[in-house]
Amino acid sequence: MAATALFWVFSAVVLLCGLLVVTRRNPFESALALVVAFFFLAADFVLLDAPFVALVQVLVYAGAVMVLFIFVIMLLNLRGEEPRLLRRVTPRVLTGSVVAVLLGCAALSVAFLQGAPSSPPPSLPAGFGEVETVGLALLGGRWMVALEAVSVLLTAALAGAVVLAKKEV
């Protein structure tokens, strides 16, 4: 039961930091909470037998994406905006929260009522989720096309970001 207990602890930290991301007025504090959430999510991935996904999560999300976010926040010199928000319950906060909770309940009911198995699988093959298994699955068979499409997308995003953010085109 140690893994399950750890999973709940890490998940609680992730959800707490997610709530902080949404509720902090200062975008910089939101970004820092997001870094912590990504790190603990990576720990959850390790517990879920996905070590390679956890590695990429730390490298890409907690590393590259968050550096971009913090870089832009500091570049734009954003301070605590939205002073009206979260002091009191505005109609926007109310409707947004209600819609989100309803959507979450819908997702949960799909998961729990449509027969998602409750018992974990008896065992996993050796090396499941490690670099070799994931890499071989990625390079062989039907995931090849998706990999190539993503590589084209990354190139396009690189060029697009440079063109967009340049001062004089």
Binding site: F7, S11, L15, G18, L19, V21, V22, S30, A31, L34, L41, D44, F45, L48, A50, F52, V53, Q57, V60, A64, V65, F69, V72, I73, L75, L76, L78, E81, E82, L85, S97, V99, A100, V101, L103, G104, A107, L108, A116, P117, S118, P120, S123, L124, A126, F128, G129, T133, V134, A137, L138, V150, L154, A157, L158, G160, A161, V162, L164, A165
Partner: protein, 103 residues
């Protein structure tokens, strides 16, 4: 390899994370925080992918999660470039100020 954590726990975490992300997108007006909330939603989906991959011992879920991360990274790159552009032209990153297309 012994497996302990049940799929229901994983799906609960996934749904909760997605819900927090949706709430952030709907409630917040700061463009950067909206982007961060979108990242939270994508991470919630990734959790579900990894959980299902483990349940059926199929690495395909891991691959889907990895491809999602790549798409999210490119989305952030282009999105933040757009934020810089908007801030430069209009001096604000508040979504309520972007009413150029309102009739």
């Amino acid at each position: 390899m012994k497996v302990e954590i049940s799929l229901h726990a994983v799906l609960a975490l996934s749904a909760a994370l997605f819900t927090i992300g949706v709430a952030g997108v709907l409630v917040r007006r700061n463009l950067l925080v909206v982007f961060m909330s979108v990242e939270l939603m994508l991470n919630g989906v990734n959790v579900a992918f990894v959980g299902f991959a483990r349940q059926w011992a199929d690495v395909g879920g891991h691959l889907a999660a990895l491809l999602t991360m790549a798409v999210a990274a490119s989305e952030v790159a282009v999105g933040l470039a757009l934020v810089i552009l908007l801030f430069r032209n209009r001096g604000s990153s508040d979504l309520d100020d972007l009413t150029l297309l309102r009739g």
